[in-house]
Symmetry: C2
Subunit: 181 residues, 2 copies
DNA sequence: GCAGAAGCGGGGGGCCACCCCACTTATTGT
DNA sequence: ACAATAAGTGGGGTGGCCCCCCGCTTCTGC
């Protein structure tokens, strides 16, 4: 990639970050291009569709969440670590309007994508919890991420607190006496 | 309402139903108006925004789900009845692309809305399950509907089967031994 | 049957995503 | 240093969208 192309790429992502923070994932691509000081054609060449741009925007934040997963790997309680991480993911997704939609929209297994990063990071936490026998082994990390993202998406209007509450609910299960069934 | 206005209203809803079945909730409003044989202004007069139209489109289906809830009220196992109903709701939402988004978008307590109908219908099933002590009393029907709709929204790409599976997962809880925590 | 109001829809404005193509600019081999 | 070249650029065009204005049509109560 040529140096000027790289510079334009970075400027677009930066402008997009600001726009998304203000207007959510439905921000105008044209305005992003205008603020970045590039033509709209340049934006569309670098990012063939809206999701591609959003994916780039959220890449940094996603890395932060993966680092957090690394920290939690050494936590004493594996189950608590997994739940905490998922709750943080939900809270962040609910704040960064559009992240949840992006994660759900793109195929989860596509490498280099935000989703793939979260899968590999989360899988370790899940494995630890399964080994500790606090999580059913037939529940995949994809299941958990989909569930959490779904909740974040639904809670975008109601706020991060509600999102975290629903995550806890789903994790504990809503049944009063699950062992009797 | 004048007779011709009513006729146009019905034709718009019918055209919208077909369009939604084909293209999902993002169907073109202009094309819906065209197919209904009315001007776009008429469509926008009857339905001030997209959600209003979608709400009308899904009204009939929602009534069907409410009837189903009525049937399930006499089922022998209250817990199974609740879970079955929620699973059916999820499966239908995942099929009727956009229903979930509509239910999440409109305020749940607004009377006459699809959401309100589901709340009253589902509340009875939930109460029966609470009385049978198989569901925690602090879980509201709004919690359950939000959770199920969130899952349906997330599973729109993967299909109804996956949606039903995730609902079961959330209801059972993903923990291996919930009673130990 | 008629007056008035309720309803209608063509057309236009503003905005959008996306594409085409003539022009500019960085890179590379000599 | 410099020319050849391939990569990159952005202005403008296209088609579509939502929504609104306003003169015209059609229904309804008397």
């Amino acid at each position: 990639m040529r140096a000027d192309a790289q510079r334009n790429y970075d400027r677009i992502v930066e402008a997009a970050s600001e726009a998304v923070a203000r207007d959510g994932a439905e921000a105008s691509l044209e305005e992003i291009a205008r603020r970045a000081g590039v033509g709209s054609a340049t934006l569309h060449r670098h990012f063939p569709n809206r999701w591609a741009l959003m994916s780039a925007v959220f890449h940094g934040r996603t890395e932060g969440l993966c680092e957090r997963a690394g920290e939690l790997e050494t936590a004493p309680d594996p189950h608590e670590a997994l739940v905490t991480w998922l709750r943080e993911l939900a809270a962040y997704s609910a704040t960064a309007r559009g992240l949840a939609a992006v994660l759900l929209a793109e195929p989860l297994q596509q490498s280099e994508s935000c989703g793939a990063m979260l899968v590999t990071a989360g899988e370790r936490l899940r494995l630890r919890a399964v080994e500790a026998a606090t999580v059913r082994p037939d529940v995949s990390i994809a299941d958990l991420l989909t569930l959490v993202n779904a909740i974040a998406l639904a809670a975008e209007k109601t706020g991060p607190a509600e999102a975290a509450r629903l995550v806890s609910l789903a994790m504990d299960g809503i049944s009063a006496h699950p062992q009797t069934r």
